[in-house]
Amino acid sequence: MSLDSPIFQLELEGAGMWSRVIGRNKTLRLTDLEGGANVGMMLYHATERHERYNMPDTLKGQHIFYLRAPYCLHSDMGRLMASITKDTVGWHDTVCGASDAESVLQQFGENNYQKSRNEFYRNARECFLIELCKWGLGERDWIPNLNWFSKVVADEEGKLSYVAGNSKAGDLVELRFEMDTLVVLNTCQHPFDPAMTYQPKRVRLEVFANDPPMDGDASLMVRPENARAYQNTKDFYLLSE
């Protein structure tokens, strides 16, 4: 199904933040406008917020260390939150976490609001906590976040390295939501981005309506774990709606 007329669109500046509930049967498209973007993201069940995106279940349920189409995002309750239905990037990180005030200070130096007004240096940890707080969530709800557009690889000893140039201007990823989901995100740089200057990149967000997945859907078929998790999601809505 083509997704040609968005019901919502927004351009987020670098180091911007955003949170909203996106219903199931809707698709979020993220587009890297300049190349080298990073979108840090946390996901919670829209009404049962103790249910969250779960990095371990997502990785071990699909036997992968990173994310790409047609893989899925699993909750900690054995259900699917979203499926990656389109992806021109091919590798997205979900293990390296978020920058914090100390790491940004060490890498880029001090640049506060008093000095630079809205050009001050933000960090992903504070952006997440600000948006989480607006929904009644906080440090107790902290989870390993996704880092869309960023690639980090591991060597045999588990040492990690950041791969620059993973995402180009115009690259995009589409998430089809299978569950009503609170999406919390920011566009701060990846914590391993080796850039010497503070330069978080702009990202476009668009939301489209989509039809429910059909039989043989690539995301639900790529692993039998995904089909069972999707069945669990359908069962949840069968009883709750």
Binding site: N54, M55, W142, N145, A154, N232
Partner: protein, 210 residues
Amino acid sequence: MIESTYQSTHAVHDEVVLAGDHWVHEIKAGQTFRIEDLEGNQAADTLFYNAHDPEERYSASDTIRVQRALYLSTGTKLISNRGRTMLTITADTCGRHDTLGGACSRESNVMRYAFDREPMHACRDIFIRGIQCWCHDMNKRDLACNINFFMNVPVTPEGGLSFADGVSGPGRYVEMKAEMDVMCLISNCPQLNNPCNAYNPTPVRVLLWE
């Protein structure tokens, strides 16, 4: 591989945690804590909280971020969700411990294995019993992604991930020094669907030194 200089006869606490049981205990700043894999290839699913403010707790992604490394061993700092060091691993005769794989739950057993595995005993239920015994106002919200001591979850350069047979064995141990007062919560994993433990969960031993 770094061996410890501590003797079990000098420990101030020495206890066996059976497979399928929880263990909740405070570790004071400066104390040294050891988990011993008594029979080999057991998974000790472990969480740490600031003993005085449990909203601060072990964070897998902050531990990976600060170290830029996936596996835990001697020298690894266990980092909290506030970016602070909670404990430092000071000795390890196993060589590698996992922080990616999380805990089993009845719900994820359904997703991973089959719908009929739902009734089986699982780590998340054990963690929940553990935090209920601790008597703080805590719930599922407080169960962060845990460490799996003695588990081997190798990642390939191509991005594959598997639960491999253990690098641990009978009598292997990991030892860490607390940098702040922490509460330790262990679920000694009862998983019967994973070949890593030869489908036979076994006890671990926990020791503390001043």
